[in-house]
């Protein structure tokens, strides 16, 4: 991937993910999350994953974030509630310090791995066709299982949140 593009997307992703966890307004968090996901989609495209690039935009940015935004608007949070939701400074900084230390540790250990150049892949790597071929052969069982999980999600949303009775 072009280094300039990589650093551009990486910068967008990091800055907006900081917005996701620090901004007070849930709506600002959600919009920042959409930005993170879009930036990551750009990186996916650079990793020979055209199918996942599309799915990322369609499902994550297009469905999950929109769902979250709908719920925020449905709940119609008022300003006085946002005041309650101010960051809990002590706990937040404590976990930030721990996370920073862990990030450093993991990065050091992972970078010790030594980087070998990526394997050569055909031009069709990660295309819809290539993914579909594996999905319906090697990954048949997980594919069926995930359909059960999706069904459980639908039933669950109805059972818990449907009005009435």
């Amino acid at each position: 991937m072009n280094p300039i593009l990589f650093w551009l997307f990486a910068a967008i992703a990091v800055v907006s993910s900081l917005f996701v966890v620090t901004k007070r307004s849930p709506m600002a968090n959600a919009l920042a999350l959409a930005l993170v996901m879009t930036a990551l989609a750009g990186l996916f495209a650079g990793l020979s994953a055209p199918f996942l690039f599309i799915i990322q935009i369609l499902v994550y940015t297009g469905a999950v974030v929109v769902l979250i935004i709908f719920v925020i608007m449905l709940l119609n949070l008022r300003p006085e509630e946002l005041k309650l939701q101010a960051l809990q400074k002590g706990k937040f900084f404590a976990s930030a310090v721990v996370a920073l230390a862990l990030t450093g540790l993991v990065l050091r250990l992972v970078s010790a791995e030594g980087s070998t150049p990526p394997a050569a892949v055909p031009a069709s790597f990660g295309t819809v066709e290539a993914i579909a071929d594996e999905l319906f052969t090697t990954y048949l069982l997980p594919f069926e299982v995930v359909s059960f999980i999706l069904l459980v999600g639908i039933i669950g949303a109805v059972v818990v949140a449907k009005r009435g009775e």
Binding site: L109, V110, S124, T137, T138, L140, P142, V152, V160
Partner: protein, 504 residues
């Protein structure tokens, strides 16, 4: 020519599903497809919600148990879909535990949900889906399938926890459980991603053996382990347990306290078996040693002060996870499958005594309001002698007093630990057991030595009563004579031993 095959280097063929190729999957299929049938029945009869759901749905775990029975004994173990689904005696044993917990969970639910005024068919379908996820979770070494099994077992339980949606506590417990559960799945996934990154394969049995020296794989393994420990509710991932067990509908608590424990300790045993090369490099047995000690101690000390029976049983379940972790310590350090057999035996006893105890709690609750303070059980031992006797058996079994099965389970685990040189760990375990006697006996003191404080009319439910009776009798039977043989059933201890021998 497809490109995927070129990239992965293997020809892609549609799996052969003809003949009996799917037979090893039957328990999973019965539970999951059966759940679909339940949903269909629910929508067909939506107007009249008075179908006998417990009876209808309990057919599923019974059928699954029947398929397990036909496999026993002399089953060698097969795989379907590559490493994605393993059917061996170990998976069968865990599956049987899950099916027993599911069967009893379903039977307890009808009475309970009617009391709470939310009796619906989809509840039972969700129980069956969760059980199918557990079966999958304990039957695979492939990371993707393991992850999906974990989600299929967890998501229905998040929903069931919040099933009483007019109840503040139920919904808040669901939210808490959901958020922490999703967080732990993320850790689990990141761990799996690192293991894949270090080795290029998602089959953990292959990956953990191929590059045990790689730091990336080791980080991945620790992250993966933390996901398991969250589900098993050990320190430091136990914080959610008391709130969730208390807030969830009691029948759901009975189900999840037992079946999730069985599934997660089963899957953990299989993971540790395959991770032997990594556990020799990383100090995993030492880590588990500390986890076992802290889990027992934190659970028991917190349980001492609880006045609510569900919270008390929640902390007690944390302590029991600690005792089972003792078995994992000796297994992880020595690779001796006998140590794992102890854990399996303990899981069976644990399942029966917890289901039984929660069954009694359900019978003693009244319409609309649950009676959950231990103080409110004053005198009930004399008013309902049979239930009082059953509760006595469950409490002494939980405390690990002979002759109930809880004693033999602890003895089995501790003896294995001593044999592998963990004497100090066993001493701490025995001290913890002694401590736990106090709060279990407190329930009995309330039952028999305090004057009754309230009018009590028994709500007779034959189904719940027989579940409680079955659990009580089974605990005594397997506790007094763990080696006796029922016609057709191998001696219990021999059976447990046999099931770990061909673990993979």
């Amino acid at each position: 020519m497809n490109s995927g095959s070129m990239a992965s280097g293997a020809a892609l063929v549609f799996p052969d599903l003809s003949g009996g190729a799917l037979n090893p999957l039957l328990p999973f299929l019965i539970l999951s497809v059966g759940a679909l049938v339940l949903l269909l029945l629910d929508s067909l009869f939506a107007k009249r919600n008075n179908l006998p759901w417990a009876m209808i749905s309990s057919v599923l775990p019974l059928l699954a148990l029947a398929t397990y029975a036909t496999r026993w004994p002399g089953q060698s173990g097969t795989t379907v879909f590559g490493p994605m689904y393993i059917e061996d005696p170990f998976a069968s044993f865990v599956g049987i535990l899950v099916c027993i917990a599911t069967l009893f969970g379903m039977l307890l639910s009808e009475t309970y949900l009617k009391k709470m005024g939310r009796y619906r068919g989809d509840y039972f379908a969700l129980l069956a889906f969760s059980a199918s996820g557990m079966v999958l979770f304990a039957s695979t070494t492939e990371f993707l399938t393991l992850f999906l099994g974990l989600e299929l077992l967890s998501i229905p339980v998040y929903i069931l926890t919040g099933f009483l949606r007019r109840d503040q506590k139920s919904l808040e417990a669901a939210m808490k459980y959901f958020l922490l559960g999703a967080f732990s799945s993320a850790l689990f996934l990141f761990g799996g991603a690192f293991i894949y990154g270090a080795t290029g394969t998602t089959d953990l049995a292959v990956a953990l053996r191929s590059a045990p020296q790689s730091p990336m794989l080791q980080i991945g393994f620790v992250l993966l382990l933390s996901g398991f420990l969250f589900k098993a509710a050990t320190v430091p991932f136990h914080m959610w347990t008391p709130d969730v067990y208390e807030g969830a509908p009691t029948a759901v608590t009975a189900f999840m306290a037992t079946s999730i424990k069985a599934a997660s300790f089963g899957a953990l045993g299989r993971l540790l078996y395959n991770a032997a090369p990594v556990t020799q490099i990383l100090p995993i047995p030492d880590m588990l040693w500390w986890i076992a000690v802290l889990t027992m101690t934190v659970g028991n000390f917190a349980a001492l002060t609880q006045s609510n029976i569900k919270r008390m049983l929640a902390y007690s379940s944390i302590a029991h996870a600690g005792y089972m972790t003792v078995g994992l310590v000796s297994f992880a350090s020595s690779g001796d499958t006998e140590a794992l057999a102890g854990v399996l035996y303990y899981l069976l006893a644990y399942t029966l005594m917890n289901i039984g105890a929660f069954g009694v709690v359900i019978l003693w609750s009244e319409k609309g309001t649950e009676r959950l303070e231990i103080g409110e059980y004053a005198g009930l031992g004399w008013k309902t002698p049979a239930l009082g006797l059953a509760m006595t058996i469950f409490m002494i079994s939980l405390a690990g007093i002979p002759p109930a099965a809880g004693f033999f389970g602890k003895y089995y685990i501790f003896r294995n630990a001593v044999e592998h040189g963990y004497v100090s760990l066993v001493v701490l375990g025995v001290l913890n057991s002694a401590l736990s006697v106090y709060y279990y006996l407190r329930v009995l003191v309330a039952l028999y030595m305090r004057p009754a404080t309230r009018e009590f009319t028994m709500d007779r439910s034959v189904v719940v009563g027989s579940v409680v009776a079955f659990c009580g009798l089974a605990l005594l039977w397997i506790g007094i004579a763990p080696d006796t043989v029922l016609p057709g059933v191998p001696a219990l201890v021999g059976w447990v031993r046999e099931s770990v021998l061909t673990l993979r």
